[in-house]
Subunit: 310 residues, 2 copies
């Protein structure tokens, strides 16, 4: 089992869903990714928080054996985001984005992180993602995600950044925006030409697609979304997907740059992504991770197997 | 291998997609369902056409061994539909609906059809669907589909009709409309309480969900949509899904009313539905079925297996 560095936002969120309203809860991509990945591998985080970041939130991360040495604490307030979901929860409206201390974030890696073999670059400015990568000695596997703003307004910078990645994780809108192609197979192929050997396209409740080049030809794989009895709060589900995916790869010491990497292992990683995303939706914010066990994770992986094997 | 009766519309369509425009081509749910199902089983159709129905269109059906004894020809024009797809082809606008001879359709089954064990009731008025069912002696398996108009404006009639069905095939909007539930698992459960033991929910390009009760509990299965290099014309894809699903069930003599029916066999039927729907989109109208072979169908079924097994 290899260990993993995760960089991204640490935040407080206010969220309103048809099931209720929470005024302040732990959030941020780095938080969700690392909690999710912690079920598979040892995680070390890089991020910034303000002096309002609560010690019980540090405790939650540490109870999942997350190394917080790279969590910088600076004067000011932690990144704050507030949003409201539509009744069907397939869309949301952002009400407030206060970057606060995140606005001047300059990721600095502790010396102890530099030799860690797995690196996940969460959605931050592409220059900063590159900067983090440059501080690592020689990771076996580097990948990450991005968002519409970097694709449209920092395109050249983003392209320079992802050129060195082994995989890119995007949603369907981002894949189309980045590639200029409507057809997702064509979009994935265009993104592979930008550098990443593996492309994962998330489709929300519909699951995810995995694209790899295997023995010279493009292959695709599909993972369904889990059918929950009730979606309570989808905040962080995409980040938990990333954590499950990357965590599984690290736990299996997988190296995507080798042409002979078994695509089924990558599909299993995508399924674990779907598994972790589904648990995330069962409670508000990170609450599900306060009680979730690895046995529950594996039982749901088995449910995915039972729901798709024919 | 059992044989199958299909009732539904026989039509001419005019279609415009980003890939081109066709002013008049063979269409109608019954046409697509029966061509698709003909790759698996012997199909006998019930429908009505006008005196403009071309002999080469009858020839196409007969070249697929479709029994057209139940195709009534009456004075007047065949049902005509015209539509235009949005650039991403996930939505379409209906430009013209001329029911013509279909407006007074009164399905009459030839005596030779009455003992056929499989019955698919395509989307027509629920009273007519019931009327067709009543003319059959005792089919082993009855199922069909419906649409938003019957759900909203003929609800009591529709409920009386589907009460006797073994399965209902709907899309996600229809499932939500019929059940009043947003969550698809809850929607399927509510529909099962209306009669059908099996519910299949189509999700367009995202594939389909299958719900069955097995050993007393609700189980769900997911089939992805096939990733085409290019979607040429989605007209009829849902009907071809129905044909592949029902055709496979008939070819395997499956009986959904038995509690011990293997759910994996039903999932294979759903996958064959996805396979046939995907071929339909590759050319305008029914054109793909002029050349499609069973070997191509089975090769694509294998592709689905390769894309989902983990």
């Amino acid at each position: 089992m290899s260990s993993l560095v995760v960089v991204g936002s640490l935040a407080y969120d206010a969220v309103e869903t048809p099931h209720g309203k929470v005024d302040r809860m732990l959030g941020g991509a780095c938080t969700y990714i690392s909690l999710s990945a912690s079920y598979f591998t040892k995680v070390s985080i890089v991020g910034v928080v303000g002096d309002d970041f609560a010690s019980e939130d540090v405790d939650l991360l540490q109870s999942h054996h997350v190394d917080v040495e790279g969590m910088e604490r600076v004067p000011g307030k932690t990144f704050f985001w507030s949003g409201r979901y539509t009744p069907d929860m397939n869309d949301r409206e952002t009400l407030v984005t206060d970057l606060n201390v995140f606005a001047t974030f300059e990721p600095k890696l502790p010396a102890s992180y530099r030799g860690i073999p797995y690196l996940f670059l969460g959605n931050i400015q592409p220059t900063l993602q590159r900067n983090v990568r440059a501080q690592m000695s020689n990771p076996r596997l580097t990948g990450g995600d991005t968002m519409n703003y970097w694709i449209s307004d920092h395109r050249a910078d983003l392209l320079e950044t992802i050129r060195g990645w082994n995989f890119l994780l995007v949603n369907d809108h981002e894949a189309r925006q980045l590639s200029g192609k409507t057809n997702l197979k064509q979009a994935a192929e265009a993104i592979m030409a930008m550098g990443p050997a593996v492309v994962i396209i998330k489709r929300g409740e519909y699951g995810a697609l995995l694209f790899v080049r295997h023995n010279g030809s493009l292959r695709w794989f599909a993972a369904p979304g889990y059918l929950l009895d009730q979606v309570f709060d989808p905040t962080g589900a995409g980040d938990c997907f990333a954590g499950g995916f990357m965590g599984y790869l690290a736990s299996r010491n997988l190296d995507l740059s080798h042409a002979d990497t078994d695509p089924q292992e990558m599909l299993r990683a995508v399924i674990y992504g779907s598994v972790m995303g589904s648990f995330c939706c069962e409670k508000f914010g990170v609450d599900r991770f306060r009680t979730l066990t690895r046995a529950e994770v594996d039982a749901r992986f088995q449910e995915f197997q039972d729901a798709t094997a024919f």
